[in-house]
Amino acid sequence: MSSVMKTTRDVKGIGLSIVRPDAPDKVTGVVQYVADLSPRGLLHAKLLRSPYAHARILKIDVSKARALPGVRAVLTAADIPELKKKAPTRAHAVLAIDRVVFAGQPVAAVAADEPAIAEEALDLIDVQYEVLAVSADPLEAMKPGAPPVADAGTEADTSEAQAHGSVAGVATEAKPAKAVNISQQARLQRGDVAKALAESDVVIEKTYRVPMVHQGYLEPHAVLAQWDTAGNLTLWSSTQGSFNTRSEVADVLEISENRIKVIPMECGGGFGGKIRALCEPITAILARVTARPVRYVMTRREELEAGMPAPQVIIRLKTGVKRDGTLMAIEGEAILESGAFSGAVLAVSGVFLASLYRWPNFDVKGFEVLTHKPSIAAYRAPVAPQTIFAIDSHMEQIARAIGADPVEFRLRHLQREGDKMANGQPWLNNGAVEVLTRIAEHPLWMKRAEWKASSKGGKLRGTGLSLGGWLGGLQPTGATVRLNPDGTLQVLTGQVDIAGTNIALAQIAATAYGVDIDKVKITTGDTDVAPMTGLSAGSKTTYTVGVAVMQAAQNARNQTLEIAAKELEASVHDLEIDGGKVVVRGVPNKGITLAQIGKKGNLYMSKVEPVLGISHPAFSVQAPAFCAQLAKIEIDPDTGELTLHDFVVVQDVGKAINPLAIEGQMQGGAVQSLGMALTEALMYDDKARLTNPSLLDYRKLTSADVPKIETIIVEKPAPHGPFGARGVGEPPIVPAPAAIANAVEDATGVRLTELPLSPERIALAIANGK
């Protein structure tokens, strides 16, 4: 695939900080999300959820709820013929049948005239439970004899890993007998680890823990469902991928995909949590039963208790190096707590642990473990922040132990393009070395000793950095570019624009065709009209859809030039598009306007074909993207309070199509990463019930908590990206936990290995001197 596209002149397109066209609608409250839609006859849905993490349902009595005025439907599993006992995914488990497997699992559904009536109806439903023993801790859940989560015979769900397309070639192993809650298992091995560890001078073993965290999108899950009399379903959805939602809902409802139209509404944040279907199937069923439009909006409490958070990740690492810094071996175990259903991306962890750095011998095992908690989903660079927290913290400790410069030590051992990853695939072109080198040149890093030495008033000062990244996502996609009768361009994809990707795609179309951005309109179509388009996830929207748009625009340009060649009786090779006209190079007054060509494609009796550029590519080459982050901090050793004074993000974006939008991605990702580092944790009691189900107790960072985030963009072109661009969304969420932990050690001399790095943990670690 050719990716280098030259236009005949500079157009207003690639590389400019152009404001996204929907910004005025977003600052005036005009833009509509699902919860803003109120069609005539609207009913409101509410779900009754289990208070227990594991229980048998003995009896459900809905008679009082059904009798409440204003209630239009009350459903239990017995009312839904499509329900299967062995639900392969969370989406298939529409309502619990005879057993609930996490606290917050829906057991009954109500549709009513008003939300308050639906809520009152929930109170009138009587469910008798027999409470069962729970698996609340993944390490306990792995042991033989632990209370089982899945029904026997349920297959592991690897579609999340496939959707992210991140790591190929990691073999999954047969699970050992009796460990009923181990749902996936993988192992990456090379060389003789035991021998290499025995020959090492410095052996370090640590266990790193990152709790379950929530993606934290501000707009809770929401869907509006309506059927027509012919049996066609329309879903207005807050989704990161309308075609994915359509497939999942069709599968659960057992209807054909062309009977479902998913209209992707403005998505109020997703970060991986709005890829898989969650409340769409039950809302569609309520709409079918009532023959009315039904809207379901999750409450924040439901989001926290029964959303699809990121897994808890526990990583044990044991490494050996020689006194001169030669890497000898790494042995590791990554345990991913997946909650009640399988679906974790296991392989990312193994590849980063075993082969971000050049370990000649490695043995890394990965386990996905089921527990009686809500099942997990992707969260921006799934499992990469947790994994980098472990491996980067570890590299820092090794460097300190042997007295090496931490940046030089990482650079010395970092895998380069062509080196083999642990799964046998070669590392592809990436900017890991460049971003790490660049951040080490930052004045804050150069002056870190002065900052540390300036500690006063009993406070401790320190600086830390970390390197992390993302292997890059792939998914087939499609786009069309049409020339309108007035000479403007119409770009159509099915891509949901959460992050500002549509403006980048429009810039690509403008540049590839040869017109200014103000002549381009981009539309996100619904599943009835848009070409098949992948998820807005995995840092692949600009990387893949950008190629589709670029090729479709090139295709439209070629068609335009061919039409012009005939009209002008000139060779296509002598033509160029300039100022809205196709002109013969060197003969500026010989030309035809794009509007004239566009009109000919829409004229009665015209023999000129309308210009319709099409591209629907599939991809095989990922573009890994790396990010380095630096934290300058101050700690009060008595209280453990950590003040973040400065934070720097250096990221390789390949080619900055829209620097303004990219800075926004880098800053937002960094603050999510800092939230994981400092404050965020879904906390469960020993009965696997969430103890902090509100945004007061689940602490996301506010504007008062973080400094302005400094961004430095590095451009190392991706060979197959559109104009050299690579994915931007995932990398900035990866490094902060390790950067902060490294800074804490610089300041205090203590090493923390469990997130979040709360004041209590920091103060206790200092008091205990470790």
């Binding site: 900080s17 977003k26 600052v27 005036t28 409250g29 934290g216 926004g664 945004l695």
Partner: protein, 160 residues
């Protein structure tokens, strides 16, 4: 239960609507008056997405019963500025590329507008704390601070 008649002023217009006794001000604005600019992000006053002005002060409209607004003045994002006639804060948010998903933006703007009314030339620290009740998950707040700082200069200049 019978509905109540709520009379108040919303975005400078007198309004009279029927509300349920349990409706919050946010419910009344969104479901009874069609003003869907204020968002419900939590319903418990923790996220700030529902921020409106109540007699000129920023409040979480999800925490006030609708009938408590009787006789009071309410301003929502729809009454801050309109497409084509944006408030300086809205202009600055567009120019600085602040909105990503956009869900928190109406609340942040109302909090920032109230701050600038009370304190036309806030320091960065004062801006930081002025919008600390408004959670945003996309932007990392950096561009918000820059936009509010710029708008503060513009509005203060306009008044003087």
């Amino acid at each position: 239960m019978a509905k109540h008649a709520l009379s108040c002023t919303v975005n400078d217009e007198p309004v009279e609507v029927l509300v349920q006794p349990w409706d919050t001000l946010l419910d009344a604005l969104r479901e009874r008056m069609g003003l869907t600019g204020p968002k419900e992000g939590c319903g418990t006053g923790d996220c700030g997405a529902c921020t409106v002005h109540f007699d000129g002060k920023p409040i979480a409209s999800c925490l006030l019963l609708a009938m408590q607004a009787r006789g009071h003045e309410v301003r929502t994002i729809e009454g801050l500025g309109k497409p084509g006639a944006l408030h300086p804060l809205q202009e600055a948010f567009v120019k600085h590329g602040v909105p990503q998903c956009g869900f928190c933006i109406p609340g942040v703007l109302m909090a920032a507008a109230a701050l600038l009314t009370e304190n036309p030339r806030p320091t960065e620290e004062e801006i930081r704390y002025g919008i600390a009740g408004n959670l945003c998950r996309c932007t990392g707040y950096t561009k918000m601070l820059a936009a509010i700082t710029e708008a503060a200069g513009a509005t203060a200049g306009r008044r003087s």
